[in-house]
Each structure stands twice: as structure tokens, then as C-alpha cells.
């Protein structure tokens, strides 16, 4: 079972480290996965060098979507927005450390999609799966 749901996924799902909503914030974005109703919102604060000083996520959904959001948020602290924009699917999968089929991949990548849409300053209509390919 380890290859499927590593300890860290269950742990971060049950007790996330970065759940919350930052107010004020420099970046806010939210979206959901209509297939399963997963929802993720992300708030980010940056310094004058566009470097992430603080970030948080909120939402609900499956363990994969919530744990990957928590791990992703953790990983971007101290990164510049350009570095955030350069994040890929593989970065998230590395954080999770498991293999996923196409449907669960969407769960895993929802937070990255939301984060990158926020970093790029996209409108709600401009989000697409291409952001995380």
C-alpha cells in the first residue's frame, strides 16, 4: 500500500501545515475539479523582489488534492514568482512520491494549476490544463 498512499499524504491530508487564508495577500486564486468537487484556493504574500514570503491554501477534496496542495505551498516559500511559474507536473509528483493515473493526476495538479494561474495573474476563464503540462 505504501506505493499508493505514502504516510506523508495521509498525514498532510489529516493535519495540513499550510491550511488557511492570508489577509492581506498579493495573490489570490481558486478553482475546482468538477469531476470530484475538489476545491482549492490559494493566497500568497510576496516581497519587493517577487519572492514568496508566506503562502496558504484552503479547500476540500480528496487526500491527493489536499496533501499535494499542502506540500506544494510548503515548497514555494522563498521562491520567486518566476520560479513558481516554472513549476511543473513533475515537481508535484516528486513531492507526492507516488504514481498516479490520469484521473487522480488532475486531483494532484489542481493546486499547481491554481497557484500558477495566480502567479500569472490570469482571469477565471483563462485557466487550462495546459498550465500544468
Amino acid at each position: 500500500m505504501d506505493d499508493l498512499y505514502r504516510e506523508i499524504i495521509i498525514e498532510r491530508y489529516k493535519t495540513p501545515h499550510y491550511r488557511g487564508h492570508l489577509d492581506p495577500h498579493d495573490i489570490f486564486f481558486e478553482d475546482d475539479n468538477p469531476v470530484c468537487g475538489d476545491h482549492i484556493e490559494i493566497t500568497v504574500r510576496t516581497d519587493e523582489d517577487d519572492r514568496v514570503t508566506e503562502a496558504a491554501f484552503d479547500g476540500h477534496g480528496c487526500a491527493i488534492s489536499q496533501a499535494s496542495a499542502d506540500l506544494l505551498i510548503e515548497s514555494i516559500h522563498g521562491k520567486t514568482l518566476d520560479e513558481v511559474k516554472a513549476l511543473t507536473k513533475d515537481d508535484v509528483l516528486e513531492l507526492l512520491g507516488i504514481e498516479l493515473g490520469p484521473v487522480r493526476l488532475k486531483c494532484a495538479l489542481l493546486s499547481l494549476k491554481v497557484l500558477k494561474a495566480g502567479a500569472y495573474g490570469l482571469g477565471a476563464d483563462e485557466v487550462s490544463d495546459e498550465l500544468v503540462e
Partner: protein
């Protein structure tokens, strides 16, 4: 544990007909298929007849004089006869081949409904419809200014007869309703619903996607006006479904798709339509699929739909009993007596997707999501459920595996 299965039919013999049941999901992990409500598995008889068709008789049908064309036409029309007799249609002409239940319902919405309904007219649906029996009517309602009303699901997860009678008083033109909910498993009292509709002057369309595969469905005794169902949910192939209709209705309906085969004579600017059912089968149809569909219907008929329904009923009772034991598991749906072989549930603290994925690790195939019934999930304030569903090739051992798997999920999510 008593094993009453043999008295109904020989499940092991049935299982031996389904090649996929020998599949291992990963080395050493056999498949436990509990997703027949999404699509059923196929017996070798169905797979083989299509294979043989392509290897021996493949040709386009109708109008062909050569041997292959005549064989193919005869096989295709035999498929129609087999399906017609499966639902006890008076005539095979009442069986229109479509792609699936969804297209069958849209066909009625685009033809009968557009020709007969006008602004302000009312269509009655239920709260537990599959999107396939909801969106076509929403589209039509928008286009034509129709009124949609919904029979509620009672607290017991049943079709609300009292509310229905009240809606009938408003003189709806059509009652389009599911015969069995693909989420709750609720079996609706179709014969009575249809009788009352007719008394109130309304026509009826029955979504038989879940009932035709699992229950005896007799269009004549139901007296239903339209019935829609799909081959793939009743051990037949993908790509073919049926719209059954009463003959005078089908004959009066305008055509839907235009093209080859649905015409009698064609000039550059005018055409006349072919007779029913060809009027509604434009272009080259799903030939191999219709042939497979016929064999699928015959396969089920040979086992016997009464036996199938009784067998599934026993399994459902057993499954509900076992699931009720598990703390933190809530099953949505009525008691077994009103229910087909479907168990949709939620687990405290675990998302349905996680449940399904962990079960899959042990080869147990269940579905997680809204099952194309978002409004029903909305009603219960949830976005998704995990759904296990049963068919002729499932056994109590499969239920036991499911339960074991759920305990494992609980362990992991501790």
C-alpha cells in the same frame, strides 16, 4: 453461509463466459468488478459474434445484393428482432437503433417534443435523473420556453407518489423518468406512474438504462410510450442503444438526422422519409454492435430476467447488511426491496476518490464521483459518493472483498 445462487442459475458457469474476470489487475491481484452500473462486462458469446462478423460477413447493410451484404443485413435485423423480443415489443419495427440511452432520449426531445410541445407546456422529471434524462429537457426548455418540474425523492429515497399526483393535476405533456436510479438503486413503480400519466393525458418516456439490464421490462404490460436503453450496460457492446416507441408515435414523428437509409426518394430540394424504424437510422449504423446487442439480449434472456433480478436482490440484501456493519459508512438509497444492485456510500473523513483508489489497489473496481447525477448529490449536500454495483457475474465473495477493502481504507486513514 447458505449459497442460494445455484437455485437461480449457475453463477460459476456465467463467470466462465466472461474472459475479463480472469484478468489480474496486477500480478497476483484478480479483478473484482463492481462497476457494472457504469458498464457491464461482455461474455465471449457477444465478443465472438462481432469478431466473426468482421472475419466472415462484414458488409454494409440494406440495398446490397451480394452475399455478404445479405448476410450482414440479416444479422443486423436479427439483432433488432432479438432486442425487440427481449422487451416484448409487438414489432421489431418499434426498435430504433441509436448510439446509447442518451441519444435515444435526445431523439425524442428533438423530434416528438419539438413537434408537439409549445411554450408554457410542462415536462415532469424526477430529482434522481441521470444527466442524460435531464440535459436534453433543459436544452429543449430553453429553446422552447417549456416548464420543467421535478418529482422529489422521499426521505426513504423513493419516488414521491403524492407529489407526482399534484404535478399531474397541472396537466404536463410528458413524464420522463428513470426506472432505476444509478445512484440510489431506487426502482420506480413505472407501471403505476405510466397509468396515472395516461389518465392525466401525458405521454411517458422511461429511462431504462439501469432497469432493462437488471429487471424484466415488458413494454406492453408497462404500456410505456418511449423506452431508452443502452447495450453496453446489458453485457452488449459499446456504441449501440435503443429507442423503443409506440408505432403511431414513431410514425408521426418528424425525422431527426438526415442522410442515407432514412429516405425513400430524394431530389435536390426535397425528400420523402423511409418507414419506421429506418426513418431514424441515418447513415451507416453500428452494424457489428447491433449484432452483438442481439446476442447480449439473448444471453440475458437465456439466464432469465426473473432469475437475474432475484439473484441481484439477494446480493443487494447481503451487501446492505454487510455495509451497515461498518462504522462511519453511510449508504444512500432505499431498503433492498425497492432497490437494484447498487450501493452508493460515503465514509466519514475519506473522500470517495481515495476510497476507490485504495480499493483498486486490491483489484476492486468501484466508481467514485457524482455518477452523472449532480443534482441528486447536491440534494444530499455532497459532491461525490463511492458506488459498488452488482451484476450476474458477481458473488457474495465479491461483497466480502469490498467490505474487507473498506476496512483497509479505514485503517489507512486511521
Amino acid at each position: 453461509m447458505a449459497v442460494p445462487e445455484k437455485t437461480l442459475f449457475d453463477v460459476e458457469r456465467v463467470r466462465a463466459d466472461f474472459p475479463i474476470l480472469k484478468r489480474e489487475i496486477r500480478p497476483g491481484v484478480p479483478l473484482t468488478y463492481l462497476d457494472s452500473t457504469a458498464t457491464a462486462q461482455k461474455p465471449r458469446q457477444v465478443i465472438d459474434v462481432m469478431d466473426t462478423f468482421y472475419r466472415r460477413s462484414n458488409a454494409n447493410i440494406h440495398r446490397g445484393v451480394h452475399t455478404l451484404a445479405e448476410e450482414a443485413t440479416a444479422m443486423y435485423e436479427k439483432g433488432r428482432e432479438q432486442v425487440a423480443s427481449f422487451i416484448n415489443a409487438q414489432s421489431a419495427r418499434q426498435v430504433v437503433f441509436t448510439r446509447n440511452t442518451t441519444e435515444s432520449i435526445n431523439l425524442v426531445a428533438y423530434t416528438w417534443a419539438r413537434a408537439n410541445l409549445k411554450s408554457g407546456d410542462m415536462i415532469v422529471l424526477t430529482e434522481m435523473e441521470h444527466h442524460s434524462n435531464l440535459i436534453p429537457w433543459q436544452l429543449l426548455a430553453q429553446a422552447r420556453g417549456l416548464r420543467l418540474e421535478f418529482v422529489p425523492v422521499t426521505d426513504d429515497y423513493l419516488f414521491d407518489m403524492d407529489a407526482y399526483r399534484e404535478l399531474l393535476a397541472l396537466e404536463p405533456k410528458l413524464i420522463a423518468f428513470t426506472h432505476m436510479s444509478n445512484v440510489l438503486g431506487t426502482i420506480t413503480p413505472a407501471a403505476e406512474i405510466i397509468r396515472l400519466a395516461h389518465e392525466a393525458g401525458a405521454l411517458t418516456l422511461l429511462d431504462g438504462a439501469q432497469s432493462v439490464p437488471h429487471l424484466p421490462v415488458d413494454v406492453q404490460s408497462l404500456d410505456v410510450d418511449f423506452l431508452a436503453f443502452s447495450a453496453h450496460k446489458m453485457v452488449g457492446p459499446s456504441g449501440v442503444g435503443v429507442l423503443y416507441g409506440k408505432l403511431p408515435l414513431l410514425e408521426a414523428m418528424p425525422p431527426f438526422l438526415g442522410g442515407g437509409d432514412m429516405i425513400k426518394t430524394v431530389h435536390l430540394r426535397t425528400f420523402s422519409t423511409n418507414e419506421v424504424p429506418y426513418k431514424f437510422e441515418a447513415g451507416t449504423p453500428a452494424i457489428a454492435e447491433a449484432i452483438g446487442f442481439g446476442v447480449a439480449a439473448e444471453y440475458l434472456a437465456n439466464i432469465g430476467m426473473d432469475a437475474i433480478a432475484a439473484y441481484e436482490h439477494e446480493m443487494t440484501e447481503y451487501a446492505l447488511e454487510r455495509l451497515a456493519e461498518i462504522p462511519g459508512v453511510t449508504v444512500f438509497g432505499p431498503s433492498a426491496e425497492h432497490k437494484g444492485g447498487v450501493a452508493s456510500f460515503v465514509m466519514d473523513g475519506v473522500h470517495p476518490h481515495d476510497v476507490a483508489q485504495i480499493l483498486d489497489h486490491d483489484g476492486i473496481a468501484v466508481r467514485a464521483g457524482h455518477h452523472c447525477a449532480q443534482p441528486l448529490h447536491e440534494k444530499y449536500g455532497i459532491t461525490a459518493t463511492t458506488r459498488a454495483s452488482f451484476y450476474i457475474y458477481n458473488t457474495r465473495a465479491d461483497v466480502d472483498k469490498l467490505v474487507e477493502g473498506i476496512y483497509k481504507v479505514k485503517e489507512i486513514f486511521g
